[in-house]
Amino acid sequence: MKKSDVVVIGGGLSGLFAAAVAAQNGKKVTVLSYGAGSLTIGGGIVDIMGYADGNVPFATPIEGVKNAPEGHPYTFIGEDTVKEAVEAFKKMASAEGYAYQGSLDEMQWIPTAVGTLKPTALVPRTMDVAKMEAAKKLVVVDLAGLKDFSAPMAAKNLGLLFPNKTIETVKVPELEKSGRDMTAFDTARLLDRADIRTMFAAALKSKAGKDVCFIVPPILGTHASYVAFDDITKQVGAPLVECAAVAPSVTGIRLRELMLSILRKQGVVFIEKANVCGNIVENGKVVAVTTKDFGRQRTYRADEFVLASGGFYGAGITADQENVKEVVFDLPIVAPARVEDWTNAKMFSDAKQPFAMIGIAVNEQLQPVDAEGAVIYPNVRVVGRNLAGYDFCFEKSGNGVALTSAYKAASLIVKGGKA
């Protein structure tokens, strides 16, 4: 492989977005990814910052960013960069025909599969909660054969949340015979087909009317486009709102398709099944990373490197009884000294989990630093879930930190150094 300007390690949201931003600004980018990244399971809804310590929700996402606790990635990504990143992401998505809505100034409380609400910031148009809030009657779609979604339970819980609204369910017969449990993703694939959409819409139509809003699992098409959604909405004659649901994640798969399509248009080289496990350093700078799987070791040279390997969850950081290890550059990991201290005894308590905060320490330029704060490799930037100091699951900030740190890393690279 010829030398690139930038090599990105990891094909999750942070890696893909960093690659897109760098490529958009004229950089020759190569993405190395082992596995498809957590978008497939994690979801394409962009949380920025939902909850403060003690499980208290922030009024707006930007409030969350401003009040991020000490050591949190937002404190060194910076409020301005967060704003720019959100704008850049929305612009990119919209140019591809799959616009996101929402902003840093308004918390979106979206319904979940069990009929509770969760705070987030940017959502696809299929999750326009304003429509749900404005409706007088919510009709939860009860699709025969669909697993991981109980319409009666969702309806019951929504009833508790919205005592002034009428809550109903509507039964939809199985859309196509199936020999296995149908996931939301299987159903979304069916609804990619126009004939199935017509069947589906017909089943909803009887309950449609003024002030009605349908609540559906995320099934309105698998593609990063609103073709299926718009078609169904038009045929039903009332708004539909998708709720957040379990893996495989339809919204995440759409977002991945969106990002990959952008990368292709920008000529980014995307290498699958590239198991990055080593590096070459010359004069204190990384000059290449290496991959190895079944065959030869392969070398990928570049001027700049973005480490977007997903931390613990994405396998960028591994742990055994004695050692926590970052697999590519062997960067130091910030973790509680004793493994016993990694978990909060109260698993579902209102406090963050120490193990979730484990990650790589960086400076304001997202360069990895050692215990004394000295930069280890000046041309490596660490992004996404690799970063230490936040519990994405508890505070609801996963894709937000991924997007904004990726944007910062790419911008620094494009500007050729300091912000």
Binding site: K2, A36, T40, I41, R180, V269, F294
Partner: protein
């Protein structure tokens, strides 16, 4: 010997593979990679289990490509399936397709036999005889060339060079598309390499594994490995031009078998396009190309994507003046070796390939480039376009000078 342990416990049940399996996408009776692979393997380790669903797996490896945890899902499927089929009656078609090399070798001995068999297969198809043995009469079947690659190679006058490589043609190129093998030779010659062949090499064994003949595949692996050891000792790289052969020789051998030297050989085997791309990296590629004024679409074989080397054909072809090529990026073509040739899989196979066919039709190109022989068959049939190997374009560009 192989450090790649086939361990189902690597699986974290994340379901990523399920979302990326093209067969599970179109066949709702298929339980998908996670359940048929690692999840069932845990049960199978306790007691033998029959899983009829395993028959659906095409060994396309999209599950392996998407898995973040390195679970060799498709190989778990192939091993479990072979075990399940053990001692049961062998369908004639499955046996035939697993042993294509035998047919090829037989035909090569009698002048004119190939055309008679091609005619016979055509007749068999039209009389429904193929369907009777389980081979689809609607599928495009590879036709046999009148002169094998090895024969053509013998009568080709090469320039002698110090730098030498060994070319492993595999069954498809040797018996069905020798012209591609000859282009490999010409292109390597144009880059200052003398090409050797070794007629002792046997079929890589990929069709045998899919057909459940693991014992025979192991024999082939043993034989090829010892020959490859010999060439490696001489310092000669081995070149392949079929991505399924390449994957089998480099990766699946290590997942399935234990023969001394397999892992080292994996480092010495190069796909032809990768080899050219590496020459280019070192500024050693002969780029004295003539104009090729054409626009084509590229289809990346799944068995190439599974090798973690990117898409070297695109790197090389983009150097040719006048020539434009774009990655179709439309997923699996559906053929996956002989999967799409089976009578009870043809329909599934075409459904899987639909996205790719549509993409090709929309692009309005007349030719599609792909490194895999069975992908090319499927594309030719499904999208009604000419399908060629990337090295053929390179050869054309040299010839145009």
């Amino acid at each position: 010997m192989s450090k790649h342990v086939v361990n189902p416990d690597l699986c974290t049940a994340c379901t990523v593979c399920v979302a990326h399996c093209p067969v599970a996408e179109v066949v709702r009776e298929y339980r998908g990679p996670k359940l048929s692979g690692p999840a069932s393997e845990r049960l199978r380790l306790l007691s033998p289990q029959d899983d009829a669903s395993l028959d659906f797996c095409s060994n396309c490896k999209n599950c392996d490509i998407s898995c973040p945890s390195g679970v060799p899902i498709s190989t778990l499927n192939m091993k479990a399936r072979a075990k399940m089929w053990e001692g049961k009656p062998e369908p004639q078609g499955r046996k035939m397709m697993a042993h294509g090399e035998q047919m090829g070798k037989l035909l090569a001995r009698f002048p004119g036999a190939a055309s008679i068999v091609n005619l016979g297969m055509g007749l068999g198809k039209s009389l429904g005889m193929m369907d009777m043995v389980g081979i689809s009469s609607k599928a495009p079947l590879p036709s046999y060339a009148s002169t094998t690659f090895y024969k053509q190679f013998k009568s080709f006058k090469q320039k002698s060079f110090d730098k030498k490589v060994v070319f492993y043609p595999g069954c498809t190129i040797n018996f069905n598309q020798p012209e591609i093998g000859m282009d490999v030779v010409k292109v390597l010659q144009a880059n200052g390499y003398e090409v050797l062949v070794d007629e002792e090499f046997v079929c890589c064994g990929s069709p045998l594994v899919v057909g459940g003949y693991l014992g025979e595949a192991n024999e082939n692996a043993r034989k090829n490995t010892s020959l490859m050891n010999k060439w490696r000792a001489k310092g000669y790289p081995v070149i392949t031009a079929c991505t399924s052969c390449g994957l089998m020789l480099k990766q699946e051998y290590q997942e399935l078998f234990h023969h001394e030297g397999m892992d080292k050989n994996a480092e010495n085997i190069y796909d032809i396009m990768e080899f050219l791309s590496m020459l280019d990296d070192e500024d050693k590629l002969n780029t004295n190309f003539g104009q090729v004024n054409d626009t084509m679409l590229y289809h990346a074989p799944c068995h190439l994507r599974a090798q973690g080397m990117g898409l070297p054909a695109l790197d090389v072809l983009s150097l040719i003046p006048g020539y434009r090529i774009e990655n179709a990026a439309a997923g699996c073509c559906g053929m996956s070796g002989s999967y799409g040739m089976q009578a009870n899989k043809r329909e599934i196979s075409l459904k899987v390939g639909e996205k790719l066919f549509n993409r090709i039709r929309q692009a309005g190109v007349k030719s599609v480039v792909s490194d895999c022989g069975t992908c090319r068959l499927q594309i030719g049939d499904g999208a009604k376009v000419q399908a060629i190997h990337p090295v053929q374009i390179v050869a054309r560009a040299y010839a145009a000078k």
